[in-house]
Symmetry: C2
Subunit: 193 residues, 2 copies
């Protein structure tokens, strides 16, 4: 089963991905989204980290300094926006694991959020950076939800074999670095069909 809509693109992956080695996945995605915005292709942003602010000082007229604050658990996913008129929503994760992605790396309510976005007509997925394989996959939320449900009574991770079977390999590039919208184009086509 070939899930990749445009298989030939993957040939360029091995060489170009050298440049990304050591770069954090989040930075790669920030660069990618900046590219998409600059070229007016899509308007997709990473949301700020949710913070509970407890104490703020005003040492000068120039501005406030937060002196005590705590990280909060995010109520949604990290990324959302618009592409070709479609609402896009996704979470991005990377793993150093060699054989599987543990579902404990993603909050249950984030998976449920992705499922609900899908029900409302949006396009939602997980972007997974498998560092040991030096590969990035897009896993549609419909599969992620399946694995999430399976985890309630069984296996609590997604094997790389499953990711390869049901996910879409993203050919890393230079500009944009992680061209995941190529796969989203394919998901849009599938939605129409």
């Amino acid at each position: 089963m070939v899930n990749y809509p445009n298989q030939k693109k993957t040939f360029t992956r091995q060489k170009e991905s050298q440049a990304n080695r050591g770069m954090k996945f989040e930075e790669m995605l920030n660069e990618t989204n900046a590219y998409y915005r600059e070229h007016d292709i899509a308007m997709i942003f990473k949301k700020p980290i949710p913070i509970q602010i407890v104490k703020v000082d005003y040492p000068s007229r120039s501005g406030a300094v937060i002196k005590e604050a705590y990280y909060k658990i995010p109520s949604t996913t990290d990324y959302n926006g618009i592409y070709r008129g479609h609402y896009i929503d996704f979470e991005a994760k990377e793993t150093q694991n060699k054989t599987s992605f543990p579902l404990s790396n993603i909050h249950a309510h984030q998976i449920e959020h992705l499922a609900r976005v899908r029900d409302h007509g949006g396009i939602s997925f997980l972007l997974l950076h498998l560092r040991k394989l030096d590969a990035i996959y897009l896993l549609d939320s419909k599969h992620l939800i399946g694995y999430h449900n399976r985890a309630k009574n069984g296996r609590k991770s997604i094997s790389f074999e499953e990711i390869k079977t049901h996910g879409y390999l993203i050919a890393e590039g230079f500009a944009p670095r992680v061209p995941y919208l190529d796969i989203v184009d394919y998901l849009i086509e599938q939605k129409k069909a």
Copy 2:
């Protein structure tokens, strides 16, 4: 010119809005969006406030404490999400002014963001709480952009008369408190037409 799609709803406004007096606009919108989510009507969230974190302490194994951080200028608007398959994006503002809304209350790049969302096929607008009139209006981004462009060479505010003419009055209610999606329904119909 009557801009309100369902004029009769406004009759209930005066009485019910008493309950909202003193409540912050942001809280009213948070309640509204929670209502829409709980009833599976829409998935719209307020984004976290963007913070630049400088110093983090780890006083115990239980968690991190942010000891120095600064507010950043938001790169996008405060609210976005999905409704009826449409990408929704808006900014919310309130004013104590008696006759006009100063455009200095909203960042230029946020207005440009709303314009771009519109160009990409999304529905974008400003929700304005005019406290002195005890009234809430939805102003479509196409008008907001017009006033933004006018401000470059002329008047730097939007008069309440203009807001009344081009905006849509939102009938405040109890649940949801600020039923702005009633107006969005109308914008979706206009988009189709």
